[in-house]
Every structure is written in C-alpha cells, then in structure tokens.
Symmetry: C2
Subunit: 202 residues, 2 copies
C-alpha cells in the first residue's frame, strides 16, 4: 500500500502538556519535523532550513498571497508560519508530520488540508488545569486568572477538533499511546485507502 | 465519563471472513448481542427474545411504518430485521453493539443512526478472495463465478464505509485487534465527548 503520510495537528490550552506529548511521540514513532518560516532575524547559532526558514517580509507576504502558507500569525511585528510545500512533499513520500500549533493556526491548516487529523489535548479536570497554570507559584494571582481565562476561551474551540486526548498527571506515555491509536485507526479510513477496491477488479 | 456505547457495523463480501472476526471480537471484548426480529416460524429449540423476536407479518410491517426497524429485508417470503429500541437502550447503558449485516442493511442503519461506525472487511487480494470462495472445491465453476461477481459488486460499496480492515489468512486476531483499535480511537472523538468542555467552566 502506497499510502500518503498523516498530517497530525496537536493543540491544547496552556497546562495541557501537549508539548511533552509531542516530544514523547517523536521518540515513539517516526515523524517528520515541519520547519516554520519567520521574518524575525536569526539568533546566533540558528540555521536557515533547520530552526527556521528566515525570509524577509515581502517574501513572506507574497507567500501568503499565493496560498503557500498553511497557516501564519504575527507576533511582536514578525510573521511566523508553516510553509505548505515541504509539508505536502513529506506527506506524498509517506512521512507523518505533527504540527504543534495553537487553535487559529490549526483551523487555517484544516481549511487548506481537510485530511489533517485534529487532536485536542486537555488536562483531566479543572483542578489539574489550575494547578498546572499556577506552576511553580512564581506568578501573581492576576496573571494566573488571566491565563485561566485564556485557557477556558481556548477550550471552547474543542468541537472544531476531531479527537480529544486527556493528559493525566504522570500519564504522558498513555496520552502519546492514545495519539498513536488514533493514527492507526485513521490509516484504516476508507478515504485514505480509496485504491483498495481496484485490487479486486480485473 | 458517562459515554454512550458504540454501534459497530461490520460488513464484507463472501470470503472476507467477517463472521470469524465478529466471533473473535466477542471473545476479546464485551459486546451486546442484537436479537433480530423475523416473521418466519420458530424452529424446534429456538426461543423468542434469544434467537429471534418472532412476530407476525402485520406486526413487522407496522414496526417498519413506525420507523422502529433499524434495517430489514425480505428472504423467501419472510421479513428479517433489527429492532431499533433494544439497540438504543443498550447504547444508552454504555454497552457496545456489533451488527454483522450486509451492505443494504448497513446503509439503512447508518441513515437512522449516523453515529454508527461502519467497518468493511476485505481479504488482502483477489487471489485470496477467489481461493476462499472456491472453498472446499465442491461448487461448480459457474457458481464460483457468480459468487465472485456478487463479491465484486459488493466491494463497490466500500467508499460508503468509514474504515477498512484487511483479513489476512491466519490473521483473524490481527483483524479483530484492528477493529478494537478503531473503537478505541472512536471513543476519543470530540463528537462522542461533547460534555468534556463543561468540566472547565464553573
């Protein structure tokens, strides 16, 4: 079977632990990295094509216009985004790709590539979310409340995702395994195996 | 989490081995049986509510009219079908149900219960399909050709299913495990966990 790779989008609010899950996934199974593009200046030691594609503003904006960015956003005056072509090439070669991106970016990707598998990571409950956002206790109560409100607003986008994975304390392996289970099932979707019936017609 | 049970539909052409997979699944995980209704007379030893719900023709037809049959068909003058209520009750109690039914029935169920998970079982290739349909070699070539044509026509409905599971020779355990993987993933669908975000709003 010459199946395309899977494009996996992982999102979740602060405190969901999605970053840790993504790191664990990369240890458990082969995933291709997607290198982001940015208009910010490279820092010492950062390599073009490895840490980022460093491009100038005019370039980035022309890529946006030509639909060559899967998703993008602006932070403090700079563009950051995911170029489409390297992702498409890797998928065509059968490689799986994980994008660890926030909700707005995730929805942009899904619009351009509807075959993307959207996974939302959540802590098991409110108390765990709060405890994780409190973290090491170095933030003021005001900052914590602001982050909690941001997290809650983000959680409202949950229905736009295909799957939910619960990340329990100490349960990163289980959560990573849940993601792999989702991917195994997705590989069996008839949509991703549309060529199979042909084998029986001759 | 008070999740509803999963309704799993398994179909596949003659020679797919879906019956064996379903038997293996019942050994591996708890599934509720769905008892069919029929208008044919009970045979000696058959019990109402166990082997079938034995009903008369007027009863069956009134159930069809009132939308109380998930699917039904006629064979040699008798009705056979799946009553909706016991299936809905079992799902509401969180029990999973497998229906081993042919394509027409499967599509009727999916129309009435879109949350049903439709799995199509296929042999790995044409040669295996042919070998299984030849079986013990007791059939004439004409009968075999007829069955192959029926199987091929059935396989055309493949895109109407959600998932495909390949049943390799000697691979019943693997195929049953594939079905369980699909069900594990389906349990993580946001659609089936729509109440989770509420946990974070208080």
């Amino acid at each position: 079977m010459n199946q395309k790779g899977l494009l996996v989008i992982i999102s979740g609010p602060a405190g969901s632990g999605k970053g840790t899950i993504v790191s664990r996934l990369r240890e458990l199974a082969p995933f291709d990295f997607s290198v982001s593009a940015t208009t910010r200046k490279p820092r010492p030691g950062e390599l073009h094509g490895v840490h980022y594609y460093f491009v100038d503003k005019a370039d980035f904006e022309s890529k946006i216009e030509q639909g060559e960015m899967l998703e993008y956003a602006q932070y403090v005056g700079n563009y950051y985004g995911t170029p489409k072509k390297p992702v498409e090439d890797a998928l065509a070669e059968g490689k799986n790709i994980i994008l660890d991106i926030e909700v707005k970016g995730a929805l942009q990707v899904k619009e351009k590539m509807p075959e993307a598998i959207m996974i939302y990571v959540l802590p098991p409950d409110y108390e765990t979310l709060l405890a994780r956002i409190r973290g090491r206790g170095t933030e003021t109560e005001e900052v914590i409340q602001k982050r909690m409100n941001e997290a809650k607003n983000e959680i409202k986008t949950f229905p736009r995702y295909d799957y939910v994975v619960i990340n329990r304390d100490g349960g990163v392996d289980r959560a990573a395994q849940d993601v792999l289970t989702i991917l195994s099932a997705e590989k069996m979707r008839t949509l991703r195996n549309a060529d199979i019936p042909e084998n029986f017609f001759r």
